[in-house]
Subunit: 129 residues, 2 copies
Amino acid sequence: MDIAEVSRLSGLAPSALRYYEKIGLIQPNGRKGLRRQYAKKIINKLNLISLARMAGLSLNEIMTMFNESDELSIDRYLLAQKASEIDVQIKRLQAIRDSLNHVASCPQSDHLQCPSFQQLMKSVKPCSP
Amino acid sequence: MDIAEVSRLSGLAPSALRYYEKIGLIQPNGRKGLRRQYAKKIINKLNLISLARMAGLSLNEIMTMFNESDELSIDRYLLAQKASEIDVQIKRLQAIRDSLNHVASCPQSDHLQCPSFQQLMKSVKPCSP
DNA sequence: TTACAACTTGAAGTCGGCTTTAAGTCAAGG
DNA sequence: CCTTGACTTAAAGCCGACTTCAAGTTGTAA
């Protein structure tokens, strides 16, 4: 497969694929002339990368997930830890959503003083953006 | 209150407060000499700003939430819409978390092919990072 | 009065994750 | 064989939200 095909199948721009290669995250199988040729299994790897990106992992973190043979050599503990971080994030988002709904429905301009709002803010504050 | 006090109470760096002022998001009450002096209610505004930031709103979006008197002049529809966007985000995060847990617990290297994983990936794909 | 910590400014720098640009190369169809 | 569109490169640019820097000013305690 050439880069356009990989781009189409993975949903990642060719420039992103070249970027991933530059930082050592992926490797083409070889070249035909100058052109990169990829094995099909790269798609799986890219899907996994996308998943990890969406989970909030940085590309550097993601690099530690694969060994030289492109197999997952995951620190499963790290992954489980990430999963629970996401759980925390979910709870924060729920609190934020509730706060937004409160602000949206409370007609007072001083709802900032409203006990329930204050409570929500507290549950949200601990982590910064 | 001077800027250090506001920083302490709001959890925002002085440089961030100056930045917010530069883009027109906040205003000090006045100056003592060169130094900014803030009214206490700025803390409420800053808390609200932090909340909105955590909810994923940009500073530009946040600016539209206040009128000239620093009162919330919210497009409540916009807020409710944001709240439901967050709901979507929560559902995505739940799917991502489930995917991570799957990857972390599935010992096969080809779990990428595993139907349940494929299913999770699908539910996660629609939105890009 | 003097020292000095804490403020002030505008401009430039940082971060990650790409995208864009400009200039060049080349595989493959006609 | 020639064209051409898809690739190639290195380097620069972009985004938002700040932070850092260098140089200057000033409120306040001693």
